[in-house]
């Protein structure tokens, strides 16, 4: 096995140009588990830990966006200042693994793995994040929805790496909730991100662990937009109930050893309703 440790983004891209199928290593919290378990064999590795460009973030208050480098860790995302700009992403970050894992695990790795249970992804989906990819030949941007193809499959091409994501910094309430069968350090059995935007008066809802990739809920979002009162932060109980049903209908869960499809569907409904109530506390 050969391991290349580039010190700059350019070096990393050059290395990838030479070995387009090399395995990228960020925090290693997914990759090393697969390697140690013998579930994945690798011959060439490009380690990204020393690529400073990937480890930074940039807030543009004028454009109202936050750019997060692929190498930014969940520990950093859970903390200020990122936590104030994207509170739901910070909440999701705090549910990832343990402190040790959060100090190693990166947002780029979460995207690279593209598990429907990845905790960063529902929030990024609800925020309509843009994924930035780069190769020696150039850079391109993809909406997250197009980047995620299937469980553990992305639109990343050989020779490309994820340089980061861009998300809007919004004014409204946002939050993330995750059900697992213990109270910390657990893979999501069902999760929900809800983001509100006071400017466009929109509500965005994304579901995790209930489909092949993270799912957005256009019907529920449309319904919410018509039935919530942004000014008074109000939503009627009946409307909330309907929102729950629409969220549930969007889920495409499966039975597996972690839970049942019936429970997952039920749980995303409950979480969607509770998040909507947190966003709009008044009846």
């Amino acid at each position: 096995m050969s391991v290349i440790v580039p010190a700059s983004l350019n070096d990393a891209l050059q290395a990838l140009a030479r070995s387009p199928h090399a395995t990228l290593l960020a925090g290693g919290t997914d990759l090393m588990v697969e390697l140690n378990g013998g579930h994945r064999q690798v011959s060439e590795v490009v380690a990204l830990a020393r690529v400073a460009e990937l480890r930074t973030w940039h807030h543009d208050p004028v454009a109202g966006v936050l750019h997060i480098g692929a190498g930014v860790t969940y520990a950093e995302i859970a903390d200020e200042p990122i936590a104030s700009w994207v509170p739901a992403l910070a909440q999701a970050a705090r549910t990832v693994g343990s402190p040790q894992i959060r100090h190693a695990a990166t947002i780029g790795g979460n995207l690279g793995t593209c598990s429907p249970a990845g905790d960063g992804l529902p929030v990024l989906a609800a925020l309509d994040a843009t994924v930035h990819l780069a190769s020696a030949a150039g850079a391109r941007d993809l909406p997250l929805a197009e980047f995620m193809v299937a469980p553990k499959r992305t639109a990343r091409l050989p020779g490309e790496l994820i340089t980061g994501v861009t998300v809007p910094v919004l004014g409204g309430w946002q939050g993330y909730s995750k059900v697992g069968v213990r109270n910390a350090m657990v893979i999501a059995v069902a999760s929900v991100a809800l983001v509100t935007d006071t400017v466009t008066e929109s509500v965005r809802l994304a579901l995790g662990s209930v489909g092949p990739t993270v799912l957005r809920c256009p019907d529920a979002e449309r319904f919410a937009r018509e039935h919530v009162d942004f000014e008074h932060r109000r939503v009627a109980a009946e409307a909330l109930q309907r929102f729950v049903e629409l969220a549930r209908d969007e889920a495409r869960p499966i039975d597996d050893h972690r839970s049942t499809a019936a429970y997952r569907r039920h749980a995303v409904g409950v979480l969607a309703g509770r998040l909507l109530r947190r966003a709009f506390p008044n009846e």
Partner: protein
């Protein structure tokens, strides 16, 4: 001995600093790695094994199968029914078929992949009830029923007036110790013996089984304890011991084997899944008149300790309650599921979950409450079990209940005073708000036998040498994390008045200490160390008496001096033992026990301990998530020789009991384990662990050598039903299965 000694652990600092050598850290010059090829099928006939591909891989030094086992082909703790390697039939997923030794773990992996095993699939027996019913062909020459035991006592016609019944189910729990199975075998130069360093619970039993399989007399197999990172029953059975020795003897080089977590799940026995039906007949006031019960234990593919686990369950069916009449039927059966055997609580966990569910049903049926119904029926010293055995131990059942009830309930409301969402059900997932949560309270009370049962001559050996004021203590007692090394030092210090105690290596160069299980080592090995120290002290007093013309019977130890209780003589122990060596060996045997007869009658157990648990649980009714807030417990410990260790056992045992109640389960489908990793086999984290408030009930037991009862198992046993009862209380709905899953609560 100073009753409230708080001696700290001799291995504590090294463990905290990460310098303690666990068995997985052992190496030797020029060692090879060993690895095991396992069956992918729950039940299949082996029609061919071709190992030639493995031999062709450079770096491979040995490939062994059943044909290479020089001695006995099988092993086992109670009956020798488990093959070292499967030769004709595989009976569970993970059963060893071959092993290799090579220069690198990767070489081993490739070698295993190059071994071709041809299987002809057979219908797996996965439903234990079919084994009971006899509706599946035998999957083993010994048959599908490992043991059936009835208990019939008293009047079989009693019916009512109050009748409550229920069916209870427990899933398969794993011991989930952190230190994975690992061993290092070093062959003797002539190849006619082997030395094994291994993490185990019982060196001498391993020695006996390994030697038989290797075709050696026992003394040709010498064992030394490798650092043990937890055991909980999973290291009672042989796992990699024979394989490692065999590979070392084959290659003439040291061989090291170490399981991965996934392999560990396949490579050791688990807690038996169990289905229990119980019916209680009671007076109108709730006094128990008769119990009926039926147990079915799924033992998996091989016998392991299933028959003893079954006996523990059926003989504890009444719980810590008076009961004169009983009809109990129990089966331990063989299936093509993973083998099950010992785990903390050993059959009593299963029985207790059922009898405590019954007590709550009974309370509801007669309009009583969980505490009153248990106090009304609480047994005491002099009462008998449904086996006819009279409880001769201290039996403070009522006191356990009352002292638990007197412990303060949590002073924090749901979510705590600061409404911290992390303290709500769902924890870091931020799923609940305070308004979604309801609090419940539940109870569990248990009786647990201590030491071995059924006429087994259970003993422990210790040797103590006093020289120049230093005590050298030798025993083969497995230190698995429970802290016997601390207790042994305390005993030697207080009996001999020495400051310095040297614990010698734990190995087979001394007689057996028995197993570190059944809550027995403080009683048994503690008794042996105490006995040896007393013999040494007698010799010391004889010397001092002769030297100073004092009757040795008047001498005593006071602090670190020998003193004349009837005079003024005072000699420091260091001085009194200067230049001499006094060495004594002592074997502690517990009192004999009997087999059960056909009606399940007989004094089959040695001694008993008791405990009560009260759980407070917050439940998110809509999502089915729980937060165990607090467990209060009063435990009958006899005497707390080291209170800090006792508290450690209680908290750890409760963590395992809570785990079984709400999350820990090996999930299998058709004999295949689906969650053989800590990603999916969930153990309680810091946020799942409740506050524990403890009252130690210290009534020294006259039968115990040091007055101290075993404390390891009771905390695990009734904490599980207490948590489930609390969830039922919050929910107002029946729940009779553990672990309780979110969907069981909310769907």
């Amino acid at each position: 001995m100073a009753a409230s000694a708080t001696a700290s652990r001799p291995d504590g600092v090294a463990k905290v600093q990460g310098t303690f050598a666990f068995s997985s850290d052992l190496t030797a010059d020029g060692f090879l790695w060993g690895a095991t090829l396992r069956s992918p099928h729950p039940h299949a006939r082996i029609t061919g094994i071709d190992v030639s591909g493995a031999w062709r891989i450079p770096g491979v030094e040995a490939v062994v199968t059943a044909a290479d086992v020089p001695g006995k082909a099988t092993y086992g703790l109670i009956s020798s029914d488990q093959p070292v390697f499967a030769s004709d039939v595989v009976r569970y997923v993970g059963e060893p078929v071959a092993a290799v030794a090579a220069d690198h773990p990767d070489t081993c992996r490739r070698a295993l992949a190059a071994i071709v095993v041809e299987y002809e699939l057979l219908a797996p027996l996965v439903d234990p009830q079919r084994a009971v019913d006899g509706t599946h062909p035998s999957i083993h020459p010994d048959g599908n029923v490992v043991r059936h035991q009835r208990i019939v006592r008293g009047d079989q016609t009693i019916d009512g007036p109050v009748v409550v019944e229920g069916t209870y189910h427990l899933g398969m729990q794993d011991q989930a110790f952190l230190g994975l199975e690992a061993a290092l075998a070093v062959p003797d130069s002539g190849g006619d013996g082997v030395e094994l360093f291994v993490a185990t619970q019982w060196l001498h039993e391993d020695q006996k089984q390994i030697a038989a399989c290797l075709g050696f007399p026992a003394h040709k197999v010498r064992l030394t304890l490798g650092g043990v990172g937890g055991a909980f029953g999973a290291r009672e059975d042989i796992s990699l011991q024979v394989h490692t020795c065999l590979l070392a003897l084959r290659t003439g080089r040291p061989v090291r084997m170490a399981y991965s977590r996934e392999e560990s799940f396949l490579g050791h026995v688990h807690r038996h899944p169990c289905t229990i039906w119980m019916r209680h007949h009671a007076e109108l006031d709730g006094r128990i008149r008769r119990i009926e019960a039926r147990f079915v234990f799924d033992g998996g593919a091989y016998a392991s300790t299933s028959s003893a686990v079954l006996i523990n369950a059926v003989t504890h069916a009444q719980g810590p309650y008076k009961c004169d009449n009983a009809t109990v039927d129990g089966w331990a059966v063989r299936t093509n599921n993973p083998p099950c055997g010992a785990m903390r609580g050993f059959g009593v966990v299963q029985a207790c979950f059922a009898h405590e569910g019954q007590m709550d049903r009974l309370a509801a049926a007669v309009g009583s409450d969980p505490v009153s119904i248990r106090l009304l029926n609480a047994m005491q010293t002099g009462d008998h079990l449904i086996t006819g055995q009279v409880i001769q131990n201290v039996a403070p059942v009522a006191r356990c209940i009352q002292e638990t009830a007197a412990l303060p309930l949590p002073d924090q409301p749901v979510g705590g005073h600061d409404a911290n969402p992390l303290r709500l059900p769902g924890g870091s997932g931020l799923t609940a708000d305070v308004g979604h949560v309801r609090r419940g309270i539940g109870w569990g009370v248990a009786i647990k036998n201590l030491m071995y049962s059924e006429a087994f001559d259970d003993y422990s050996t210790a040797r103590v040498r006093l020289a120049d004021g230093v005590a050298f203590v030798k025993f083969a007692t497995s230190e698995v994390g429970q802290g016997f090394v601390t207790i042994a030092g305390q005993i030697a210090r207080s009996v001999l008045g020495v400051d310095e105690v040297v614990l010698e290596p734990i190995d087979t160069t001394i007689g057996s200490a028995g197993s570190t299980s059944a809550s027995r080592q403080t009683w048994m090995s503690g008794g042996a160390v105490d006995g040896a120290c007393r013999l040494v002290r007698e010799r010391l007093f004889e010397r001092v008496g002769t030297a100073h013309g004092v009757d040795p019977l008047r001498l005593a130890i006071d602090g670190s001096d020998v003193v004349d209780t009837g005079g003024t003589l005072r000699v420091p122990v260091g001085l009194a033992s200067a230049g001499v060596v006094i060495e004594q060996t002592f074997e502690h045997h517990h009192r004999p026990t009997e087999d059960l007869d056909e009606m399940g009658q007989g004094n089959c157990h040695t001694a008993f301990a008791f405990v009560a648990h009260r759980a407070v649980v917050d439940v998110d009714l809509e999502l089915g998530l729980v937060k165990v807030v607090q467990i209060a417990t009063a435990q009958d410990v006899g005497r707390a020789l080291n209170p800090l260790s006792v508290v450690g056992q209680i908290e750890g045992g409760i963590a395992q009991g809570v785990g079984l109640a709400v999350m820990e389960e090996i999930i299998q489908e058709g004999g295949h384990v689906r969650n053989a990793s800590f990603t999916d086999y969930l153990l309680p984290t810091f946020l799942d662990m409740p506050d524990v408030v403890i009252s130690l009930i210290e009534e020294p037991d006259p039968m115990a050598p040091l007055g101290a009862k075993g404390v390891g198992e009771p905390p695990t046993i009734s904490s599980t039903p207490a948590v489930v009862a609390a969830i039922r209380d919050a929910l107002g709905k029946d729940l009779w299965r553990v672990p309780v899953r979110p969907a069981d609560i909310c769907l």
